[in-house]
Symmetry: C2
């Protein structure tokens, strides 16, 4: 081991690809391995979906502003979101924690109260996990599992076709702006501990960051109207980056109409307060945990009355790439982590 290549050379997705390129599925039961929101295992007449996340204190969450109950809740919900993103209802989770001695039993009880609230609300069972020591801080690992007997109901990132309608649930950018707000108030508090954080006026944005919900209603709606999206992903990295995942997996391009991208008034105002372009926050903010999905144009009437869903664009030929049609009538290319100009 004479070389030392910095892991940042590859980026997160490139690094996973690089490290796992020799791991080819060999079992007939491995329907889908690495590369989507969840893996799919076939099992006689059923299909098991698995997704896992590793969350690190100081990287993914900050104890200065993450109440433990919210952290427990969020860490479950973001994992469930990956199973919903395959159009399957999650049923089970495992939850592992590594903790340093600074955490008391009472602190862990708070964390588990949040885990329990999420399990209750989303009707999933906690079936296992591991509890161990950590030299510093906390590490959390959650694995979510869903089971379905209907193979054709599983929606991958790879099924979008040119001409498909591009839709998203909920509104975007709020979680990112909630985080900016929490970070700003943290810095103010650190510089003068007599100043109390002013976050009461921004409950919606704070909640989008600290207590997101998974789009379970969307999955229920699809079932009700008998619709199977052609492709789907949950928005964890940001609309632009996650749409790029669909485009790459499906071998297509896409355009987004800026005017259609749903944002809350709170988010728009806060973006301007931070001197940011609101659309950039929606495109690149991440952590919204909304569902981004594509629908065949023949089925457009099925989503016209879908609560909270918005048509934001269309899938196009690969050659036409990924673009943003701005309100001002311009066309900008969207690259994952490319259009990162948060400034106005």
């Amino acid at each position: 081991m004479s070389q030392h290549t910095d892991v940042n050379k590859y980026g997160e997705f490139g690094l996973i690809d690089h490290l796992t390129k020799d791991f080819k599925p060999r079992l007939p039961s491995t329907l889908l391995g690495i590369g989507d929101d969840a893996a799919v295992i076939s099992n006689d007449k059923g299909y098991t979906l698995i997704s896992t996340d590793l969350l690190i204190e100081g990287i993914h969450f900050d104890m200065m502003y993450s109440p433990l109950k919210h952290l427990g809740y969020k860490s479950v919900v973001v994992n469930l979101s990956d199973i919903y993103a395959m159009n399957v209802r999650p049923t089970h989770i495992t939850y592992s924690i590594a903790i340093s001695s600074k955490y008391s039993v009472e602190a862990l009880e708070e964390l588990y109260a949040g885990i329990k609230t999420a399990c209750d609300l989303y009707n999933v069972d906690l079936i296992g996990g591991d509890t161990t020591s950590h030299l510093k801080g906390m590490a959390i690992s959650v694995t979510a599992i869903g089971v379905t007997s209907e193979k054709d109901n599983i929606v991958y990132r790879s099924g979008a076709n040119a001409g498909d309608i591009l839709c998203v649930t909920g509104d975007l950018g709020g979680a990112y702006l909630g985080l900016q707000l929490l970070e700003r108030e943290k810095q103010i508090f650190l510089s003068n501990q007599n100043i109390q954080p002013k976050i009461e006026d921004h409950k919606y944005l704070i909640e989008r960051q600290l207590k997101p919900e998974a789009a379970s209603d969307a999955i229920a709606f699809f079932k009700k109207v008998d619709l199977i999206p052609t492709a789907m992903i949950d928005i964890s990295d940001g609309l632009s980056s996650d749409l790029m995942h669909i485009c790459r997996a499906s071998g297509v391009g896409a355009f987004i109409e800026e005017v259609k991208v749903p944002m809350s008034e709170d988010a728009k105002i806060m973006a301007l307060e931070f001197n940011m372009n609101p659309i950039s926050c929606a495109l690149n903010g991440g952590e919204d945990y909304e569902l981004l999905f594509t629908v065949s144009p023949d089925e457009i009437e099925k989503i016209q009355f879908m609560p909270g869903a918005t048509i934001i664009g269309e899938m196009v030929d690969r050659a036409d790439k990924l673009t943003l049609h701005t309100t001002g009538g311009k066309i900008y290319p969207l690259e994952a982590q490319g259009w990162n100009h948060f400034e106005l």
Copy 2:
């Protein structure tokens, strides 16, 4: 949150019990949740088994003497061992890592080479995971999955009856003594870096610690002779502690015949070199990843020629508790973490 109760008050198993006591399974598909080597989910005609581990640098492994390839290998194998301990062949794993900037791509390639070797040898598919940053050191989370269509083949900790034969695969104490040896050489090296570690003569013990194997042969043997053990667990915490898990789950007691407990000559000699009682190393050492299982006395002939397996005792009534029948004819009570006298 005014109270601060130290987490060590409960111990690892007590803490999990305490934190998860309100998580009752609610789904009919949750055949078994927390409390065994793996959870069991029923899925139409199939059963999915899930087990997960969280491994932390400085707690579970020491980079001073854990080559990354071995670490990758071991971290997979110890998880597979939990699925084998349910009498089911593991088929899939997810592998997540959090790493600090001290790790290069080359280091991760070494780690993944070990993961791949384990996947190849045990014929399992890597189907997902997460790769993220860590402020310091490395954290690893592995989830192992097995699928079976035969519900009755799944072996739990809870099925042992008084009168059952108690058996173990392989030999015990080696992994613990390998660790003692590595720790000793590390301390010598730290005090004088010109002294090279003397470990060539103890390859077996070092390998038991750094590159353990899961007892896959035992599962294949059970199938061949058409035997389903009444209870089973893998030895990760030590014979005494893991037997206690079976006794508690099954509501029985047990005795172990000291003279029958299998140890390698290397392990016995090394125990004496460390001024330790060899049997204590076998009882409390841990990390052997052998299988401890119980068999109905009617089926004893099926295991008489089982390669590498040893009958070490018998299950008894709960009232007779857990005891060690020593070579000297004495009877000692065995308590989990109670009979911790490593000294001679």
